[in-house]
Structure formats: C-alpha cells, structure tokens
C-alpha cells in the first residue's frame, strides 16, 4: 500500500492548479479518496468524527442489492430457457447467459451516469458525490431486460441531469433518480416498454441461451392480471403453468430483473435494517399500507378490476412492490425526513401503489408511480410535521405571556 500511496502523491501535482491535468482534478480526487481515507482533520467544532460517511452508506446499499442482482442474472437466463421450452436448465450456463445479458446495462448506466457526475463535479470544483454508485445499479435492476441500450443511456442521462444535477446534486434532488429513469422510459417509449416481449431476454449471447421465435409472448403476472377477463384468476408462467404464491416469493417468474424475488429483497432489507442505513419506519409503513389497501380491494373484488382478485399477500409478492418498499421508498433524500412524516409517507406509498395497480388497468404496476408521487408530497408532509413543532412553541409562548 505504501507504494500505491507514494504513486498517488507523485501524481497529484499534475492535477493541482497549474498542472496539465488540472481539468481532471475532481476525478483524481474521487479515485484518491476511494482508495485512501482522506487524512484531513477537523479544523473547527468537534475534534472527532463518526466513522460513518457517505461512501460507507452507499456501499452498504450496493451490498444489500447484490442478492437481487445475482438472482436477477440467473432468472434472466432461466426465463429465456423456460420460454424456449428447454427440458433441462443447467445452473452455470443459465447464470452466465443472464450475466452477459445484464452486464452491458450496468456498464451503460455507470458510464453515462458517472460521466455526467464527474463532469459536473469538475465544473463546480467539488468532490465527486457517491450517490450514483447506488443509482447506477438500481437502474438495470428495475428496467425490463430487453430495453435497448441507447434508450437506457438517454433515460439515464435525462434523469441524472434534470432530476439531480440541476437541483444541486446528491442530497438536493426531489425525485428518486433511478425511478425517474424508469418512468422516463415508460412514458417516452410506451410501445417498446410495455407488452409481452420486453421482460424476457429473447436472443442467444455468446452461444449461450436460446433464440425465441417472434410469436413468443411472455407477459408478467401483473400484465396478465391487468388484461384478465373472467372470474377465476390464475397467473401463468411462460410454460402456461400456474404460478403459486411460493413461486412468486422465490422469484422465478418474468419481470424486471431485480424485483421478481421477494426472498432476495428480504435479504437486502435485513442488511439495510441491521446496519441502520434504511428507515424501518418507512419500510414498515409501506408494507402496512400495501396490505391494508390490498385487503380492502380484495374484500370488494370485482371482475371489472381483476387486480382485486389478488390476496393482500400476493400484492406484496408480485411486481416491484417489495423492491420499492425496501430500496426505493427508503431513499433518505427523496423520502420524508421527519420521524412522524416517515410513517405517513410510507403509508401513502403502500396504499397508492396497490390503488394504481388494482383500479387503473392502464398501469399494471403502481409501485413506481406511487413512490414518485410520495416523493413529490414528502416536503409537504414534513412541512406539516415541522409546523406542529412550531405551533407548540407558539402556544407555549402565548401561555407564558398570558400568565
């Protein structure tokens, strides 16, 4: 490590004021602080600082996303094989198929997003902020696997610039950057982003996997429900077998890559809650809200809204609900920031997600829109909570004056 440290020290003059690589100072600084904890010490106020910093926070979130990512890779290969009607599905080739299908998406998201972050940091002469480390992995996880790479690049660039950087960067954004990327794709390219084909990888990669015929259809469970007609709801997998609640929990079903496995989301939730990085208040209240709304919808079930046939538990297991509850709603920057506000915010996400899903057949999945809506309302919720504190102070003052 000593030699690496010396090497960095020898490089630094090139990046400082007057050096020929001065325009890359932020990038150098970013890599240097990534490799070595800065040895800058406190110059005012407290003399010691907590070991926790935003790098640690972000890396824990990334670690908590790894089970979803790895499972999603396997499931990508698995769905491709199932759709092709394969009789045996060997583990490693299936995983590597998914790995090669997903990798370009991760690379595109990181290159585009971090490229913009680095540029903006340099323009502002600031340190590079770590927020995109998480966003860059979330984006491939919540987008359909067949999203064209150029669309992914456009959507990522749009949301990093217009949702984050114009507001001032990490910590100042109103909306969750990864979700806006998804919403941008959904609304800008509706034809390509919905329907039956986009959620299952359909071509061979490096000789792995199967080429699917053009006639193939692979609707996600929620897609099937939205277009369901009849009075006995059954959700089918790609071989037209019924998907059980247990299948939905494990996640070997079609869907966006990261969100199908409730089990892996749960592992992530355990990591986030054990380390105290994500708010248990938000997670809990999203789930309570989803269950409550799912229960109400289920009581008043009607063929007009086939989503109401789902039991409250199934509402949590299908689609992106669990993923949104654990990884999206808990984004501390865009969520409510007050303790009480977090409960209200979480309930709102849970209720609205199921509400959209069940009562709006145009949108089979409501979790994304619910979180974005709650993002928009979070400052209002916080304002009301803070105002209660202000009113208490005013009342106290008036009481003193009158006595």
């Amino acid at each position: 490590m000593q030699s690496l440290r010396k090497y960095l020290d020898s490089l630094r003059p090139h990046f400082q004021e007057g050096g020929k690589l001065h325009n890359f100072e932020s990038v150098f600084d970013g890599f240097e602080t990534f490799l070595f904890t800065p040895s800058s010490t406190s110059q005012s106020g407290v003399n010691i600082h907590d070991a926790l910093d935003s790098k640690r926070i972000m890396i824990i979130v990334v670690v908590s996303l790894l089970p979803c990512l790895l499972f999603g890779m396997y499931n990508t290969g698995y769905q491709n094989a199932v759709a092709a009607g394969a009789s045996t599905i060997p583990f490693w080739p299936t995983f590597f198929y998914g790995f090669f299908a997903v990798l370009p998406r991760i690379i595109v998201a990181y290159v585009v997003g971090l490229g913009i972050e680095f540029t903006v940091a340099q323009m502002r002469h600031e340190e590079i902020q770590e927020g995109f480390l998480v966003t860059g992995i979330l984006i491939p996880l919540i987008c359909p696997i067949e999203t064209p790479l150029w669309m992914l690049a456009v959507a990522t660039a749009f949301s990093v610039i217009f949702v984050k950087e114009v507001f001032g960067g990490t910590g100042y954004n109103v909306f969750n950057v990864a979700l806006v990327t998804r919403a941008f794709l959904f609304f800008a390219y509706p034809a390509q982003m919905s329907g039956d084909k986009v959620f299952v990888a359909s071509g061979k990669i490096f000789g792995l996997g199967y080429d699917l015929p053009d006639t193939f259809t692979g609707a996600t469970p929620l897609g099937q429900i939205a277009t369901f007609a009849g009075d006995r709801l059954e959700v089918l997998n790609l071989q037209d077998k019924v998907i059980s609640t247990w299948d939905a929990f494990l996640g070997l079903i079609p869907g966006s890559m990261g969100e199908t496995s409730t089990l892996c989301v749960l592992i992530g939730a355990v990591i986030l809650l054990a380390t105290g990085i994500a708010s248990w208040r938000i997670m809990l209240s999203v789930i309570v809200g989803g269950l409550a709304m799912g229960w109400i919808a289920n009581i008043f079930q009607t063929p007009t809204y086939p989503g109401s046939f789902l039991s409250p538990l199934d509402q949590l297991l299908y689609g992106g609900f669990a993923f949104a509850a654990v990884f999206m709603a808990t984004d501390p920057v865009t969520a409510a920031r007050t303790g009480t506000g977090k409960y209200i915010y979480g309930l709102l996400v849970g209720v609205v997600a199921v509400l959209i899903r069940v009562y709006n057949n145009g949108y089979p999945e409501g979790a994304m829109l619910a979180v974005l809506l709650a993002n928009a309302l979070a400052p209002l919720i916080d304002y009301c909570v803070v105002q209660a504190n202000v009113s208490r102070r005013m009342a106290r003052m008036k009481k003193r004056v009158n006595s």
Binding site: I48, A51, G171, S279
Partner: protein, 450 residues
C-alpha cells in the same frame, strides 16, 4: 423532593483514557504563565486595562468590556504582564501573565452579602465572574441590563471523559448557598440546579433542585433549561455551572476572587490520566508536566473535551470554560487504504454500519473527518442526539438560508452551539454544525439587538 428528568436522546461516547475520580488533584511545582483569551467569552469586546510590563495582583482586571466598563476579565494569577498578543486588525488575542513572587497580594472584597441588586451585579462584574455566565438567546455573556426569567445551573458534566462537577464543590456548601442568595437578587424567577441521578450534592437553600440521567448532552445547562422551562421569544435566561456558582459565593463568604480550578488530563494519548489544581488559563505545558506527549505520531492537545474543546498548540493555554485537557491522535499522518470498506472493530460509530457496535468497547479515535463534506443525505441523525423539543435538521436549514422568521419559529433562542456537538460528531455528511449555529446566533444578535 427532586424532580427527575429521564432524557432518552443522547449518547455517552466511550473513550480510552478516563481519569479515576478518586485521583487527588496535585498542584504543579511551577506555573510558567497564565493567559486570558477574550475570545473564550462570546460577546465580550475587550479593552485593555494593563500594558506589557505592568505588575498585577491575582483577581485584578486585565481587560474590560467595551459595552459595559464594569464587566472585567481578571488576572488568574498575580504577576507581570508579559505579553499582549494581537492578531489581525490589532484584535486582542490574549494577555499573558507570568507569575512572580513580588506580585501584590490578591484582590479582596468585604465579606458578607449585600442586598442591593446593583451592588451584587457590580461585584460579580468586577470579579470577572459575570463573563463566566452565559445568557440565552445568543449564548453570550449577560447584557448589562438583563433581568433573567430564570437561572439554570448545571452540576454535571456529561461530556466525554469529563470529571464530575459535583465532587469539585463537595466541600463548598457555604459558598453555594451564598452564591444562590446573591444570584437570587438578580432574577424574579427561580434558580434551578441540576445534578446527575445519584449525586450526593446536598440540596441548596432557595434553589430548585432537579435530577437528570447522565446521558450526554444532559449536562449542558441549555438542555436542562429546555426540559425544565424552555426559553420563549422575548425571554432571557442565564446559564452557568456549579463551580462558577461556588466562585460567586466565595466573593461574599470569604471576599476572594477564586480563580483556581481542577483540571483533568485525559484521553487515549494521555500516558497517565491525572488531575491537577492550577489557576484558570495556565500554560498547557505546565499542566502536562511529567507526561510525555511526543510520540511516533502527531498528537492533538485539546483544551476541553473532544466534542466542544479547542485544539491548542504545545505552548498554548487552558481555555475557558474547560477544566479538562484531552489528548488524542491527530491522524493526519495516517493513510488508511479503503477505510470506507473497513471491517475493523476499532472504527468508532453511532451507527450499526461498523462491527465496533458489538460489545462495550472503549475507543481511541483520532481527529480525522473520516469522509468528505456532503449535503445532508441521511435523515433523522441529529434528532436522536439533541434532547430538546426542536427539529435540529430544519433549524440548521433555516440558519443556512439566513431566514430569521423561520429560525425564531424553530427555536433558535433555545439553543447554543454546544447542544449540537454530538450531532456534529455523528453527522455522516460532516457538516460544521457548531460553527453554523454560532454564526447564526451572532448574525441574529447583530440584526436584532443593534
């Protein structure tokens, strides 16, 4: 019957290098110099009463307050004024006094308690003790015409590695009673004395006694006030600690200006934690005498505790209001590879994101920031560490926006920088909260009182 307050918000940092409370306080053989630093008394605008070469008695004025000539800062020890150190724009940074044997005898007052409030205030001002009190709003020395609603006295210091305040005044009951009697003439309200649960400090006549669980920052007088009777807009309270109260009492019982204090030398880098008895403002090297500070790495000498204390150089001085020296590693000579990924159990953190959370360990932190400065990302970090009915995050945001109405609405008059020290320690975004609050209080005072 003492009322007990159980505060659940707060944190006691577990650091290496505590001093055993039973350690007797010794006086060093030699005091080379004492210094009076006007910056340690926020709101005090210094004007010199002495010049270099003058010989002063212990308790004699060195400086007076520009806004009220009666308010003095006095010499902690008798001797020769060795230096008046000035900074940029001729600002007085400190007045250094070198104790000599031919100094005149210490300043004395007539014993016995006067009853006239003006006379009481006059003596407190002349003895330098007025400047040792604080008033809220603004956390500055009391204004000349203040008539505080209540006075809050803390008899507990919950800061990391601090010594118990009540043991420092254990044998001064008479002084404490006299102090409360004198201060009682300066307020129409009550005088509250807050002790840690289980404290053996006897009840003081004419004072309201309260008990707080010793979870930092419950020892801050302002936190106690916020839980007993919070400051409202338009009200004034004074805060001081029990040692200052005993000193005020001594003005009347014995007629002396008490400038002695017991200092704890603590911290992970202190080879043998100890307690010494020295005048206020004593040179750090006299306090550390007999303790080797030089080692193979840089050491930070903090006058005070790790949260609110001031780093001082080796030839620096003990600063007011601290009765503690803490020695920690500076850390600027450490290069840690990928520290953010560390699984080391030595990483000190409030959060559960590090393995160190397991087991009740003691830590030896250094002065590094442990990360870069960022915008506020995590929410609710401050809330659990500020045991007052305020919303710290929103108050800080109102301050940064310089929005006076919003600051008032969110309780700026109730707070002092020290109340935010723990939050500043824990903040993963490494914001300088104490500095932010101090600047806000100064800004408000400039806008409103001018």
């Amino acid at each position: 019957m003492r009322k007990t307050y159980k505060l659940r918000k707060g944190l006691n940092l577990s650091l290496e290098g505590a001093v055993d409370p039973g350690t007797p306080a010794v006086s060093p053989d030699h005091i080379s110099a004492v210094a009076m630093v006007p910056d340690d008394y926020p709101g005090f605008l210094p004007k010199l009463d002495v010049k270099e070469g003058d010989i002063v008695a212990q308790g004699a004025p060195l400086m007076h307050h520009k806004a009220d000539e009666e308010v003095k800062l006095v010499a902690p020890a008798g001797g020769v004024v060795r230096a008046v150190v000035r900074g940029p724009r001729r600002k007085i940074e400190r007045v250094v006094v070198e104790p000599v044997s031919e100094a005149p005898s210490a300043v004395r007052f007539e014993a016995g308690t006067p009853t006239d409030p003006a006379e009481i205030a006059g003596r407190i001002k002349a003895s330098g003790l007025w400047a040792q009190m604080r008033r809220r709003p603004y956390d500055v020395i009391p204004f000349p015409g203040d008539r505080p609603r209540d006075i809050f006295i803390t008899a507990m210091d919950t800061a990391p590695l601090a010594q118990n305040l009540d043991t420092l005044v254990a044998d001064r009951k008479e002084d404490l009673d006299a102090g409360v009697k004198a201060l009682g003439k300066l307020t129409d309200g009550k005088i509250y004395i807050s002790v840690a649960t289980g404290s053996t400090l006897p009840d003081i006549e004419e004072a309201e006694m309260a008990e707080f669980t010793p979870l930092h920052p419950a020892g801050n007088a302002g936190v106690q006030a916020a839980n007993i009777a919070p400051v409202n807009k338009g009200e004034i309270i004074w805060t001081l600690d029990i040692v200052t109260l005993a000193r005020i009492g001594a003005l009347y019982t014995k007629g002396i200006v008490d400038t002695e204090c017991t200092v704890a030398v603590t911290g992970p880098e202190a080879s043998s934690p100890k307690r010494v008895r020295v005048p206020e403002g004593t040179a750090v090297k006299d306090i550390l005498a007999g303790m080797s500070v030089t080692s193979d790495h840089h050491v930070r000498i903090i006058s005070g505790n790790v949260l609110t204390g001031i780093p001082v150089p080796e030839d620096g001085f003990l600063r007011f209001p601290y009765r503690q020296i803490t020695l920690i590693a500076e850390g600027d000579d450490r290069h840690e590879f990928m520290g953010w990924a560390s699984m080391s159990p030595d990483k000190m953190s409030v959060s559960r994101a590090f393995l160190s959370k397991i087991g009740g360990r003691k830590f030896s932190p250094d002065a590094r920031l442990n990360g870069g400065r960022r915008a506020m990302i995590m929410s609710g970090v401050y809330d659990d560490l500020v045991p007052m009915d305020i919303m710290p995050e929103y108050l800080i945001k109102a301050i940064l926006a310089r929005d006076i109405d919003r600051m008032e609405a969110l309780g700026i008059y109730e707070v002092a920088p020290e109340d935010f020290a723990l939050a500043e320690y824990a903040d993963p975004s490494k914001l300088e909260l104490q500095k932010i609050v101090r600047e806000a209080l100064d800004y408000l005072r400039g806008e409103i009182e001018a």
